[in-house]
């Protein structure tokens, strides 16, 4: 197990390094100029002075070497070109938790509601409940979250004045973004849970369990649920890393101080220190989440653990 973890970790670090390098050169090669994005239009000479301040007049490889040196030795993503004096580290520190709070609450709803609905739908296969759930699921998957958000905002906040239209800081501010964020996920989890459960129900060992006299409740808990959760674990891991990134559209709509704004804005501004910093941060979370999933697999599914151990 330790050896396995060590190997995964080493690969993770290599992946991160490659991502950082690729992002650096992609951003540097992309058309557009962060200085133009920063200051708008000004005479060329004046722009050159500002470029020089950020070292953008230096050769590409020199810039790359410097960037990597700071990253590896100090863990410093570098100062943003647009947000004078701020680093990607600052932005991550200040804004990640906001996105994460919304994302985590939404994820809890997604998983709990999604799995229950999926299970119900599968167990009542072909009955009215199943049909209703399936129609709703298709609907929820088709409606983009920002449309749902706009509808919620219009009715709950604007028409009925139950919650504020926008803002951050009170619990009422969570209602709309969490709901908007959760909807799509609930639908996906329902869908996956349903098909996964149906797959398990048809397995021979369920028949065996029933045959040896297992109560249906016990069959459900011990055999069906446990086995149908395996594919879901694969989904939850990356989703867990995704919550930190936030949703740009939803954060924009409700004026929430999350990380999504910085990421999207950095790309359109060619703010390369910020882009690379945030990319590495997300990549780290993602790689971490995948390793976590691997470990969880071992817990949920003994077969995998055995297979690894026998190598």
């Amino acid at each position: 197990m330790l050896k396995f973890l060590g190997k995964r970790l080493a690969f993770g670090i290599l992946t991160l390094f490659l991502i950082a390098t690729a992002t650096f050169f992609l951003v540097a090669g992309a058309p557009g100029d962060p200085i133009a994005a920063k200051v708008g239009q000004m005479p060329e000479q004046a722009q050159e002075i500002i470029s020089a301040k950020y070292g953008l007049d230096k050769p590409l490889f020199q810039r790359y070497a410097l960037y990597m040196k700071n990253l590896v030795t100090k863990g410093d993503f570098g100062e943003s070109i647009i947000y004078t004096g701020k680093t990607a580290n600052d932005v991550i520190k200040e804004n990640t938790m906001v996105s994460a709070k919304i994302g985590l609450i939404a994820l809890v709803f997604q998983v709990s509601i999604g799995l229950s609905l999926g299970l119900v739908s599968a167990l009542k296969r072909g009955k009215a409940a199943d049909h209703v759930i399936r129609v709703l699921v298709v609907l929820a998957i088709c409606v983009p979250s920002f449309v749902f958000a706009a509808v919620l905002q219009y009715f709950l906040a604007f028409k009925w004045k139950l919650v504020p239209v926008f803002g951050w800081g009170q619990w009422t501010n969570y209602v709309l973004p969490v709901a908007a964020y959760a909807l799509g996920g609930i639908a996906s989890y329902t869908k996956y849970m349903r098909s996964s459960t149906l797959g398990v129900i048809g397995e021979d060992y369920i028949v065996t369990a029933k045959a040896k006299g297992c109560t249906s409740r016990r069959t459900l808990r011990k055999h069906v649920l446990r086995n149908s959760l395996i594919p879901i674990v694969t989904m939850v891991g990356p989703a867990l890393s995704g919550i930190f990134a936030g949703s740009f559209v939803i954060e924009k709509m409700f004026a929430i101080p999350g990380l999504g704004f910085y990421y999207v804005k950095a790309v359109s501004d060619n703010d390369y220190t910020m882009i690379i910093g945030l990319t590495i941060f997300f990549a780290m979370l993602f790689v971490g989440a995948l390793i976590l999933v691997d470990i969880l697999y071992g817990i949920v599914d003994p077969r995998i653990r055995v297979a690894k151990g026998s190598k």
Binding site: P31, A36, K38, G40, M42, T84, G85, V165, G167, W168
Partner: protein
Amino acid sequence: MKGRTRILAVLMAAVMVTGSLTACGGKDSGKSEGGKSGKGGEQVLNYSYNSVVVGLNPILNTTAPDNAAHGMVQEPLLRNRTAENNTNEVGPASAESFEVSEDGMTYTFKIRKEAKWNDGVPLTAKDFEYTLKLMADPAVAATNAWLYDGMIEGFTEALYNGGDPQAIGVKAIDDSTLEIKIIHPAAYFPELICSLYPVRQDKYEEWGKDYGVSPEKTLYSGPFVVESWNQNTEMVLKKNENFWNAENTKLDKINYKVIQDNATAVQAYLNGELDLTGTQDDNWAKQIEAAGDSETFSVPASNTEFYMFNLGNEYLQNTKIRQALTIGFDRENFVETIFNGNAVVNEAMIPDTTMVGDKTYVELVDGKNQFVKTLKDENPDPKKLFEEGLAELGKDTDTSKVTLRYATRGTDELSKKIGEYMKQSWEETLGINIQIDMMEWNIMWDKIEEGDYEIAQSGWGPYYNEPSGLMSIFEPEQGYFNANKTGWKNDDGKKFTELLNQAKMETDQQKLADIYLQAEELLVKNAVLSPVYQLKSSSFIKKYVNGYYISTNGNTDWSNVSVDK
């Protein structure tokens, strides 16, 4: 273009009186009714903007939202403020008065004795001297430094040619007297200096890179100080008790919200969560007007929008062909179709609101600068003009064999709509082929820089309200759109440079306007560019907000705004 969105943003900025009394910490007894304002109740204004304040260091952060925030928290020498009827005036701020020498090249500002920083230290002429000298240092890379290039004595040498920043023509004679020497008389210098927000040496050096990054590490000289700041959502400002005019400052607090989504801002406004908003959406505008508790301001933005022609192109080198393109579409119809009438047609490069001294330029030249109109009157048939142009070039006069590329300024809906409209118009009127190149705005600027375009949509918001603010960008040697970008290398271009140089030394209002008229003729009548429109912006302000005005140029005088609910 970036500039356009910024200016738009300014106009769309929304002020809102906070859910008024409820938000005032229950000081007010009549809070449930929301009717009368309690005397002694806190005056809170909720303002909103659609993009973030990047930083509070006035030397390094100069985007439009930054400038709006600096206007709230810093006190320049003079203020370019919007006044009643949405007009502009440049008036005293931290300088109570100023004098200009007879040759128009030495300005002496008298700083108020009572002017102070928020920590109680007096705001002096030395602070402004320090600020300007800092800006002249290329290592500082001040974003607005270039405004004083070719203006303040010695500034160009220091900024670009290794000269000594300490040697520029700025001197604090004593704590309350600041002398600035400029190299040519420029009646717009007072307006230009309105964007000069001071920093103070001791703290600027002590805090270094951190200056203006957080509210604690920023010094304030204006009517408000920043209490807390969450960059992408909210900045809370409260009254600066040490401000020289604090006595007459009415607001106690401004909640500066960042709301990027227009529908959100409008709904919040309608629900009483905001007090000022703007929208381009007719449906929302009607709902707001129906509510009846708002005043509507509709003001053209200072950015003018135009098409640029690359004179290096085999067809576009010909004046008649460019002129034919200039008059080859209907501007009224354009504005109606694309903007529902929320824009002003431009038949001149210089907007009608532009001033020369104390009169408008249009008034001084008696409206003779409407060169697009002149062109239309002289050439009833644009297609014929185009054919004549082709003949002059010795080419086949069949216009259908001509294909021109049109670069959009972005890939958004609006750019698409404009591109399609122009393609259709030009193809129908002139019989030519237009190929649309869709591109992001920053990529378009790259292409223009390399001269890799034929026709491009462009625009510019001038930094001061005088004709040279717009014209100088096309100056073929040093302008932003220099000859390398525009291909304007013919004799007209040289004459244009001469005229602008002549204008720099001219002090007579009428003569100055006449020089600009000649220059504009070269630019517009000879169709180096084709002016099209200026956006108009509708802003809505709740009736209980007083003293808040919107004009094309200029900043709000925040000490004058009040909330009288």
